[in-house]
Symmetry: C2
Subunit: 410 residues, 2 copies
Amino acid sequence: MSSFSPSYSCHKLQESMLSSASSFKNYRGILNWCVVMLVLSNARLFLENLLRNGILVDPIQVVSLFLKDPYSWPAACLVIVSNVFILVALYTERKLAMGSISEKVGLLIYIFNLTIILCFPMVVVLKLLSITPVGGAFALGVYTILFLKLYSYKDVNWWCRERTQAKARNIYYFVFAPTLCYELNFPRSESIRMGFLLRRLFEMTYFISNVLSIVFQWMVPIIRSSMKPLQEMDYSRMTERLLRLAVPNHLIWLIFFYWFFHSSMNFVAELLRFGDREFYRDWWNSETITYFWQNWNIPVHKWCLRHFYKPLLRRGAGKLLSQSAVFFASAFFHEYLVSVPLRMFRLWAFMGMMAQLPLAWFVARFLRGNYGNAAVWLSLIIGQPITVLMYVHDYYVTHCQDDPTIAEAL
Amino acid sequence: MSSFSPSYSCHKLQESMLSSASSFKNYRGILNWCVVMLVLSNARLFLENLLRNGILVDPIQVVSLFLKDPYSWPAACLVIVSNVFILVALYTERKLAMGSISEKVGLLIYIFNLTIILCFPMVVVLKLLSITPVGGAFALGVYTILFLKLYSYKDVNWWCRERTQAKARNIYYFVFAPTLCYELNFPRSESIRMGFLLRRLFEMTYFISNVLSIVFQWMVPIIRSSMKPLQEMDYSRMTERLLRLAVPNHLIWLIFFYWFFHSSMNFVAELLRFGDREFYRDWWNSETITYFWQNWNIPVHKWCLRHFYKPLLRRGAGKLLSQSAVFFASAFFHEYLVSVPLRMFRLWAFMGMMAQLPLAWFVARFLRGNYGNAAVWLSLIIGQPITVLMYVHDYYVTHCQDDPTIAEAL
């Protein structure tokens, strides 16, 4: 509109934006589209429910996921007990700093403390039948996070003592801070932004209700109807049910990701004025499986790199061996967090994690660019529900089949 | 991994990528996610159909959308006749170039030719009852495109004669080229890339089958069940049906966009070695309604700017008046392309287009950034099915209600 004279030539040689030859990459709007579609679909679902059969989400059923008996809170008690292990770590460090115990004794106490942190909740969850699977998984998750945090605490304090640096004893700040890597002085943000805090709080409550409605309105009916084909090993019907389950399962995972890594972690960080908000990087653009695992969960990735991978390299282990060791540890914790609460040792989660290694090799070897990215998405969308369906099937066969009332409740 | 010494500080002050405060914009992966989800959902739907009731997409029903009588092809005949108007334009230009007719006579012939281009197919579609609505819309679409192209042809040749430039007579190349703006020498690509051509061809056939399955498996049942609430004006049920219709309708529009503006236009351009592939810009990031209308359909936008908006400005019209005139013309053509094939003059499409003006003002005035973008998406997702449902309802009431066989077929 700058010149008023009619222009003869109004075309030039250029590619379409969506062509892979174009370098255009800004698709922020597509993300907003996903949010709008999610909100709209939920609004419709809600309206349909009100019209047809009222709300299917039963508050008592939701509570009973966490509690069997309203007067005994075993998972909550387990979490409270965890303070003991924090205090043990703190006092060990104090003694080490004062020099009243030797480095060797300190290391022994740490090894003992960290082993108990992993074993004690496992034994409790396996033996105490009043703990529900969801409650058990929650308690084990808290203990696993604590294990990683105290391991980092030990390492960093040891490094500091080696260089005789000043020590800060901010252990409870570290326990609540959204990171697994200890350091003496965390970067802090200037103030608590109330608007930001309230938006994250709103997201947290909204997405929880979202997940609940997806589980009860969408997944439970599919899982219920998948049992018969699974038992009869009817393959075409099993594939159909698996693909049908894949969509809500994937949506829940995506919502969980946003809820945990964006809303909740930012909420806690804002409250504690914790400055480093890099809880994830752009894993949605992953063109290799490796890139995905390095970028979707930054706290764990940072911990693995700082306290596991690099120490292994320093001790002379090769790159491939160290990487495989990290995957192996990760597979162990995945299995630990699933098998123990369900009281079933099936190794599906472990195998799912270990299968990432050959998959990563295959994708890196044969697929590039957008095709690699599509392969990563496909492994997420299809791989997860296979594992979920395996556990659900085994849980159903061992727990529910002989008991018709539970089978009906499921 | 570059340094082997353990690092004490591993956090720094930074925002999360998904926060609006972060400047990160690369979400190309989300686009791939959409494609993977679309393909998977379709695979599941296909499998479900095979298992349940075979394929619902009836080839005869598809063909009958275009033809009532397999021995008369009125829409195809109309398209063939359109060559007459192209030749009239070509010979008028030849005479004008030779100086055998005056500019005034030439302009009169053009006005006559262009008026006939719009009126002749309209009369045929309205009078010839053997033309189906889909066939009629197709023929009218072809004539509208021809109208815009020949208008541009006239303008550019007139500008060239004013400056006594060399003339090229590439009218048939221009008629088939994916642009509405004529120029003497189009930019050309170097060669035809066979791989690119085949990928676009594959997309074209894949997405057509995609749209057909969405229409027959998903939309027709919803529309059928929406008729009763619409007739009884049952508002809560109408809202529920509208939201339910919004999702497949929006998906079809998105697929149509990709099919027409990316696959088909790039296919034709590749065949003709037409160099300018900018058929759309990043409308998915639109933060205002105006930005959307300026970027989703570049051929029409370019034409409007070059042959309508700028000439109006040159003649002294104000910006707001010129913009409104463009919207008015666009609303006229939308109505023309819908009302005539359906043989119903209801002005819903016209009003839908004109409603964009106050909506654009509202969004620009009150919403910014991602909120503006969400508002644009919402107007697309919700606005379209309202208009579609209006036409379907009126078509049903006027055509089908008294004829039980048609009502049943719908």
